[in-house]
């Protein structure tokens, strides 16, 4: 287990160095003690997604500020969460869960001691009602104005003696109040009992209905990184670095299409205010800031992934937005691309060259040129609000590019390294001092985007996407190039989204445009398992709510398929290859 943990001691680098050089500074611990109250060690459980990593980074620096000791353990799914909890529950009293644990009854699952306290910062919605109404052991970090639509307490819990309140002890203590029950028997009044039972049945039916409505759709709330940043802000410990992590966290939600456009714009607005608060000094002539300090800027940029680290041509060919709009998988699409480039008036030689080496004169109003031509080619919303960070003379990163880099590091399938190694690398790449890791990530991201585009093109050209009635279905065969990359949930979801977008723009069938997509890819050939993901339909006004989580559960139940609902996202499951067809049949009949 030792390799699973990165022990974070909140000592500053300075002190560590002194320990190394054997120079004893006797008074430092004393000052530490005097300046911060001694705190208990905290267990940090973090899900492997970019938003969680960013939130974790912010929390880590907050811990560092106050010398709080913590142990960080990445958890990739429910099983791992349970195992890690079992291993650590003796040593800790406080548990912080980032982007995991909110959407199931945590106390029921983990069976913790009474004194354990869980702090949950999770974007997964709906939040489990038991978690919401437990105010002793579960503390949720959720914004008040988030649209939660939690059912009223009285509708789902009953506090009368007959009904065990189900919140803490469940039904175990049924016999604990015999006296009360007996007295009621003695009072007779059988009718009243029947009446009460009827009421109870009605109430239970209503409860089921309410819970069904509440739990039917899976969606995401405000980014955890943003929540953590606001926490830091309230404590007035926020810094520009933390702000950047919050931005990356929000951008991750946008890249993965987890929140509505509306929500994205609102949150960008919130962050923009923080950005101008932190970066206002730049304009001052007298107090020019050192070039090494990070500057964050709000920008309108184009929806081209990684173009600043790639060539413009490659970026256009591998960004979801441009490929699906220009339909680059077809010959005509390629022709359209040439026309598009010609329309912008960019010479091919320049476009295919590294962006950094492109002619300065061309780069000057490149964005305007791209926007203008894009409008003519039906790409009306190529402009997008985003942020960029700049430090030093040559380091400039767009938030979305960092997101791709971190995703690729997190799910790097190239080397057979454990998930924890990848997690630590991805976490490191978010620090400004680890630029080499970020650059490795950017290179991996290029590979990922290329693989996605190639897979999308081959799926569409060979008509692998089939309409199953209530949804579209696509299965990536074992042996397809790069299929290994898509055995990881985030990459698979990205592929799924890109595939659906491209399919919608390529198909002429109006009904198909409105359908959700289920995508399956081989997970482990030896074990004979596939990984399956379902995403909501690609429509303008999509509320990004996903019903596949519950549907998968139901379909698995009714066919007794051997599935594993291990991911924190309910809409990603593992399934035995043999059970695939009966599972799909059940899913079709369930949804039609």
């Amino acid at each position: 287990m030792s390799n699973k943990e990165s022990q974070g001691s909140a000592n500053s680098g300075l002190q560590a160095r002194y320990q190394a050089s054997n120079l004893f500074r006797p008074n430092t611990p004393l000052v530490d003690q005097a300046l911060s109250r001694p705190a208990e060690r905290v267990l940090l459980l973090v899900a492997p997604d970019v938003d969680a990593l960013c939130a974790c980074k912010i929390l880590q620096s907050l811990f560092q500020c106050d010398h709080v000791q913590y142990t960080l353990v990445p958890v990739s799914g429910w099983q791992e969460l349970e195992i890690v909890f079992l291993e650590h529950k003796e040593q800790f009293r406080y548990f912080v869960l980032i982007n995991c644990g909110g959407n199931i009854d945590l106390l029921e699952t983990l069976q913790p001691q009474d004194e354990a306290v869980f702090f949950i910062c999770d974007t997964h919605r709906p939040v489990d009602v038991v978690n919401v109404y437990n105010d002793t052991q579960i503390k949720l970090l959720i914004k008040q104005d988030d649209d939660l639509e939690i059912p009223a307490y009285d509708d789902i819990f009953r506090d009368d003696e007959e009904d065990e309140d189900g919140e803490d002890s469940g039904n175990e203590s049924d016999g604990s109040e015999p006296s009360g029950k007996r007295r009621r028997f003695d009072e007779g009044a059988v009718e009243r009992r029947i009446e009460r039972r009827r009421q109870r049945r009605e109430w239970e039916a209503r409860r089921r209905e309410i819970l069904f409505d509440y739990e039917q759709y899976e969606y995401h709330g405000t980014s955890s990184a943003m929540m953590m940043f606001e926490l830091a802000w309230i404590m007035s410990k926020d810094s520009n670095d933390m702000l950047w992590w919050a931005i990356v966290g929000l951008t991750d939600q946008w890249v993965q299409d987890r929140i509505t456009q509306m929500k994205y714009v609102t949150d960008v607005g919130t962050l923009q205010r923080h950005v101008s608060r932190h970066n206002h000094r730049n304009e001052d002539e007298e107090n020019t800031l050192s070039i090494d300090c990070m500057r964050i800027a709000f920008e309108y940029d184009v929806r081209l992934s990684l173009y600043q680290h790639w060539s413009l041509y490659e970026s256009i060919c591998n960004s979801c937005y441009t490929t699906s709009a220009l339909k680059l998988w077809s010959v005509q699409g390629q022709k359209r691309l040439q026309e598009f480039l010609a329309d912008m008036g960019l010479p091919l030689k320049q476009v295919k060259q590294k962006f950094n080496s492109m002619d300065i004169s061309l780069k000057e109003n490149l964005r305007e040129m791209i926007e203008e031509s894009s409008n003519k080619f039906g790409m009306k919303d190529i402009r997008v609000q985003t942020f960029s960070a700049q430090f030093g003379f040559k380091n400039k990163f767009l938030a979305s590019d960092v997101v791709f880099a971190v995703i690729s590091l997190l799910e790097n399938a190239e080397k057979d390294e454990s998930g924890t190694d990848n997690f630590i690398k991805a976490l490191d790449s978010l620090s400004r001092s680890n630029l080499d890791k970020l650059h490795t990530g950017l290179e991996l991201a290029k590979k990922l985007l290329r693989a996605i585009q190639q897979t999308v093109a081959s799926c569409i050209c060979t008509n692998l996407i089939l309409s199953q009635g209530p949804f579209l279905y696509c299965y990536l065969m074992e042996g397809t190039p790069d299929v290994k990359m898509f055995s990881k949930p985030v990459s698979l979801c990205l592929l799924c989204k890109y595939l659906l977008k491209s399919f919608v723009s390529s198909t002429k069938n109006k009904r198909c445009k409105m359908l959700p997509l289920v995508l399956a890819a081989p997970l482990d050939v030896e074990k004979g398992t596939v990984i399956m993901v379902g995403i909501p339909p690609e429509v303008e006004s999509s509320d990004k709510k996903n019903f596949f989580g519950r549907a998968f559960e139901k379909a698995a139940e009714s066919t007794s398929s051997r599935t594993l609902h291990n991911q924190f996202d309910m809409s990603v499951i593992e399934l035995r290859t043999e059970d695939r067809s009966k599972f799909l049949d059940a899913l079709i009949s369930l949804l039609s």
């Binding site: 005097a34 560092q64 107090n287 090494d292």
Partner: protein, 185 residues
């Protein structure tokens, strides 16, 4: 002595910080510090200032000499004079480096200051090398250099003593010609 030890000593220099927390006087072996009040400047050793800064508990006020105009003047006199001019602080180089690395956002015109201090440093090291060269060339027995800082002495000392040793060896071998003649070419 190694450079990190010199830096360690430099961290005992006092700097002014503006804390954002309040704390009573702290009694330490090296002296009492504080009391700390939010917004009120207080003198603390550099090591503590940096620790507080890293934990976002204070803003560091740059030392008085860490100012573009003053440093320009110092650089110019250093270039003009043949000898070493007195430096504003015996640990000017270490202080600049530490402060600019850890608190560059609290120091106005940090980039210019970095350049100016480095220029001054380069001028002084060049002078030092030049005098070392003439010292060796003229086979002096002793020399006196004023206004050198610990870091500067430390930079040249290993090299200088080593080279003197080598020179000594070469000279003694020259004075015993019979040793040299044994070698056949």
């Amino acid at each position: 002595m190694d450079a990190s030890e010199v830096e360690f000593l430099a961290e005992k220099e006092m700097v002014t910080v503006i804390p954002n927390f309040s704390l009573d006087k702290v009694y330490l072996i090296g002296g009492d510090l504080g009391p700390f009040n939010p917004g009120l400047p207080v003198q603390v050793p550099l090591w503590m200032a940096i620790n507080l800064k890293q934990r976002q508990k204070c803003r560091i006020v740059p030392p008085e000499w860490m100012d573009v105009e003053k440093l320009e003047q110092i650089r110019d006199t250093e270039r003009r004079e043949e000898t070493f001019t007195p430096m504003p602080n015996p640990h000017y180089m270490e202080l600049t480096k530490l402060l600019l690395n850890h608190a560059s956002d609290n120091i106005p015109k940090a980039d210019e200051i970095r350049t100016l201090v480095k220029d001054t440093w380069d001028t002084r090291i060049a002078k030092l090398r030049l005098s070392a060269d003439s010292f060796v060339r003229e086979q002096e027995a002793h020399a006196k250099l004023d206004n050198l800082t610990l870091m500067e002495i430390n930079t040249i000392s290993t090299f200088f003593t080593e080279s003197l040793n080598h020179m000594y060896k070469l000279r003694t071998s020259l004075q015993t010609p019979e040793d040299g003649q044994t070698q056949e070419y």
